[in-house]
């Protein structure tokens, strides 16, 4: 089982879009996938068509009130969702009656998901306690990136955090980047990509996800791109990305 955090403290880079569509694409290939919405905003659940949030989620598991099995929602064939739940924000904000710990998620994932091939965690756009919990729980991270300059700045900050964790936890993350909102017709996009390639020569997944209107539309219908427009370029991009991720296919520089 691979447990993967989809992480980037910058908002709007495509974490949730990648979570929903990549997970569905991997599930369609016959693998068993669980995706956890670790963002108190609950956008992942909405993107997958789950709007009723009375259902508790990962918050209750992290607080030790429920087990993972009790929170699972089967959202598609081979794909199950664990929602954020309404009290996840309390864990992030360190309110009086919430446990202040970094290992809550790791412990929550110990049992109940053994038969899954992949567990993905859709992280919030922050760098608080929820991110600490995500980095504790995983050995593998996937970083969605846009192709603009400030994204590089953000990535620098994130990699600094990751390196600190590697030191403290004495582990080595396997990390992947995905260009999740690529705008090929802008020149700076290519240059950002080149800089990324120079620092991550074996870590950028081969398929770039382009910026398209279809991808912006599908969350409001609670559908993934594979359902909303199965024949579209974006659907093809995500199907390819699924294989890239499963097999570690990356972009490289041709000399």
């Amino acid at each position: 089982m691979r447990v993967v955090a989809i992480i980037n403290q910058k908002g709007g880079v495509g974490k949730t879009t990648t979570s929903a569509n990549l997970c569905h694409a991997i599930a369609e290939l016959g693998k068993k996938v669980t995706v956890i919405d670790l963002d108190p905003q609950g956008h992942l659940a909405v993107s997958l068509g789950i709007r009723l949030q009375q259902h508790g989620g990962i918050d209750e598991v992290m607080r030790g009130e429920k087990t993972i099995q009790q929170q699972i929602i089967q959202v598609r064939d081979n794909l199950q969702l664990i929602t954020s739940g309404s009290r996840l924000q309390e864990i992030e904000q360190l309110t009086e009656n919430s446990p202040h710990r970094g290992d809550l998620l790791k412990n929550a994932l110990q049992t109940g998901l053994e038969c899954q091939d992949y567990v993905f965690i859709d992280c919030p756009p922050s760098s608080g306690l929820l991110i600490v919990n995500a980095l504790f729980a995983t050995d593998e991270i996937l970083v969605p990136m846009t192709s603009d300059f400030l994204a590089l700045q953000g990535l620098s900050h994130l990699m600094g955090t990751v390196k600190k964790f590697e030191k403290v936890l004495k582990k080595q993350y396997t990390s992947w980047l995905v260009i999740s909102r690529y705008t090929p017709n802008r020149k700076i996009s290519r240059q950002v990509l080149n800089i990324l390639l120079s620092h991550f020569p074996n870590q950028i997944l081969a398929t770039t996800i382009r910026e398209t209107t279809l991808l912006a539309e599908c969350p409001s219908f609670g559908k993934t791109i594979l359902e909303y427009s199965p024949g579209s370029q974006s659907a093809k991009d995500f199907r390819k990305l699924a294989i890239d991720f499963m097999e570690g296919r990356v972009m490289y520089v041709k000399k």
Binding site: L193, L197, H199, M251
Partner: protein
């Protein structure tokens, strides 16, 4: 994607500074070279790093008895993939702790994936920080091919 775009790179650089520069000074400056970024639109399958992900079961690392566990040289298995990265990482960590000079034999490597290559790059960098030496020996043609494709030959020093 036109080649001209790239050759004009220097003149029309749209990026004033590289915030990631601190991460790795050892990495070559690709900006000065002719670059072709392979994207799905132009990427034929044989251009992709194919790692022959064989599903044959691998010898379990635990088969090694503990006495041999921390010793150099380390022989890497034929098929190296993400499924075994954590086990290999645990093993290499122990070896790195126990030795100042570590030899890694790559002669049997018939397929290696990018996750494992990440691990070897990290090991090499860690060893430099710890003022230890990691040497990669007898790389198989497959290993060379994969490392070259990803521009890792120099970092790994094979």
């Amino acid at each position: 994607m036109s080649k001209n775009d790239e050759t004009e790179n220097d003149k029309n650089n749209l990026i004033g500074y590289d915030p990631l520069a601190w991460m790795d000074q050892e990495v070559e400056d690709y900006a000065k070279e002719e670059i072709e970024v392979l994207q799905q639109s132009i990427m034929a399958d044989d251009n992709v790093l194919e790692s022959n992900y064989s599903n044959q079961s691998l010898q379990d690392a635990d088969e090694n008895d503990d006495a041999n566990y921390n010793q150099s040289p380390v022989h890497l298995d034929a098929a190296l993939s993400i499924q075994n990265v954590s086990a290999l990482h645990e093993k290499l960590k122990k070896v790195l702790t126990a030795n100042d000079y570590i030899e890694i034999n790559l002669s049997d490597v018939a397929s290696i994936d990018t996750a494992t290559l990440q691990l070897l790059v990290a090991l090499k960098k860690d060893s430099v920080k710890l003022q230890k030496t990691v040497v990669f020996n007898s790389p198989s043609p497959r290993f060379i091919e994969s490392a070259k494709l990803l521009g890792l030959l120099e970092i790994l020093d094979v």
